[in-house]
């Protein structure tokens, strides 16, 4: 997905993947389990707000464990995109690989505000103001446009 729209959910900086989905919930193939417990250890009021949300986080979002379940949990919970000034690199790759836009951009977050983004054109729009984003590499754009790395490779085999 290269463009989209959603309501802002504001989060702090250095949110680690243990906080997105705790280690004790990882051993299952049932993705709904991850949705059920997303952000449980950070703040239980976040999960109900995630459907159709654009998460706007502080720097270093997704640090820590490489668990891809963190990115999957967000996507399955209905998150449209995650915006942060910087991401932990494994989370960044994971998100793009499963078709969840991870957007490097520094914006001020107001809870609930409308946020639009267009990755092909390279901008994020919040409260009528446009911000440029750090562009994705051509490869990452192709993967995201395909809807993730699984589809990307399916189309090639």
């Amino acid at each position: 997905m290269m463009q989209g729209i959603g309501h802002a959910v504001c989060l702090g900086q250095d949110i680690d993947t243990d906080l997105v989905i705790a280690g004790r919930y990882l051993r299952t193939k049932d993705h709904s389990q991850w949705v059920a417990h997303v952000f449980e250890d950070l703040d239980t009021s976040i999960a109900p707000r995630l459907k159709g949300a654009v998460i706007v986080a502080g720097k270093n979002f997704g640090c820590g464990s490489s668990r891809e379940q963190a990115a999957i949990a967000l996507r399955e919970a209905g998150v449209v995109a995650v915006i942060a000034p910087t991401f932990a690199r494994i989370f960044f790759r994971n998100a793009i690989n499963i078709g969840l836009p991870a957007i490097e951009c520094n914006i001020t977050c107001t809870e609930g505000q409308k946020i639009r983004f267009n990755l092909a054109d390279g901008w994020v729009e919040a409260e009528g103001k446009q911000y440029p984003i750090r562009p994705l590499s051509p490869r990452m754009q192709e993967i995201l446009a395909a809807g993730g790395l699984v589809n990307y490779w399916k189309a090639r085999s």
């Binding site: 051993r27 193939k29 250890d41 270093n60 640090c63 820590g64 490489s66 690199r89 699984v150 085999s157």
Partner: protein
Amino acid sequence: MSTLSERILGAPHGNYVDRKVDRAYVCDGTGMLTLETWKRMGAARLSDASRLHVFFDHIVPANNSTTATLQHELREFACNSSLTLSDIGGGICHQVMSEGIVLPGEVVVGADSHSCTSGAFGAFSTGVGATDMAAIWLTGETWFRVPDSIAIHLSGSLRGGAEAKDLALSYVNRLWMDGGTYCALEFIGEGVKTLQMDERLTLCNMAVETGAKTGMFYADDITVQYLAAKGQTVRPQVPETCTYIRNLELDLGDIVPVVAVPHRVDTIKPVQDLAGLPLDQVFVGTCTNGRYSDLVRFAKIVKGRKVAVRTIIVPASRQVLSEAVRTGILADLVDAGCTIGTPGCGPCLGAHMGVLGEGEVCLSTANRNFRNRMGVGGEIYLSSVATAAASSLTGEITEPEVA
């Protein structure tokens, strides 16, 4: 003139490259998702299986039948597809990879964030998630952005009660939790020569705690000798003059025993300042500090005495355990009242074998003290082995004795 990453990846920093992967590995946690994703890629195709490793280390032996069933599927696949399998009790993936598998100059990718550990051999070794790994299973390749590099210049040598772990916590504190984001850390300078392979592995292991892609040492005589003892013949790498985006200077002689306090790994205090803090548990092990040399140092301090708090020791690998059995230090640990776990991750990720109860405080030699990581409501302090040993004898945070 190139950094070590540029040399191994074959392009200047900032470039995107496709690289064949020399070694790729998953563990029981990420392996299941990798397998599922690889199947969804529609792929009956597997790249060179001899380069693909599967480790059972995170929750071993399985803690319940759900885990056991999931593990069974991965195990069966690994056997049927001739992947290199290290089953339960073999040890933590990063440790086993460092026991003569990873070689200088190789490109190594693990589906675990601490895959940066093997950079200690002068390899480019980094972590990815399950979907990236599934694509590597399929093609044997992946893409990288050649990183900028940060130099950590080391001078002098460690003294007093300070260990490599104190140095690791100190550099993470200097860079903060995101100071190394997207970068590679290169440990260089005269001080490097004073650090043995086990100490270098501890330092590279924690690179990801600064957000770094990897931590690296140039292979030198110490590397060559270590690998020779594991049956591998390699050559040293000669550093070139090159440009770093940041330089950090650390005099090893200035490093003092420190503890990372809950819930951030980059927030440290001298052990001295926390002395007397009561503990419910001491945990020694993990890919940071569960090596044979770590167990030796711990045993030396507790030998002939009794621990005053529940103390869990988990050897990082079967080789570590075996050596500890042969040399008798395992008996010293057991006689001192320590509990020994199956080689692997133990309670580090909060799944089993020593998780904390609400409000309990643990001093751990691991690399992460994130909120709730070892159990909901538990508090994790991170320290060196020497600090853990001294503290296990008193039941409270205690400064290590100076040898």
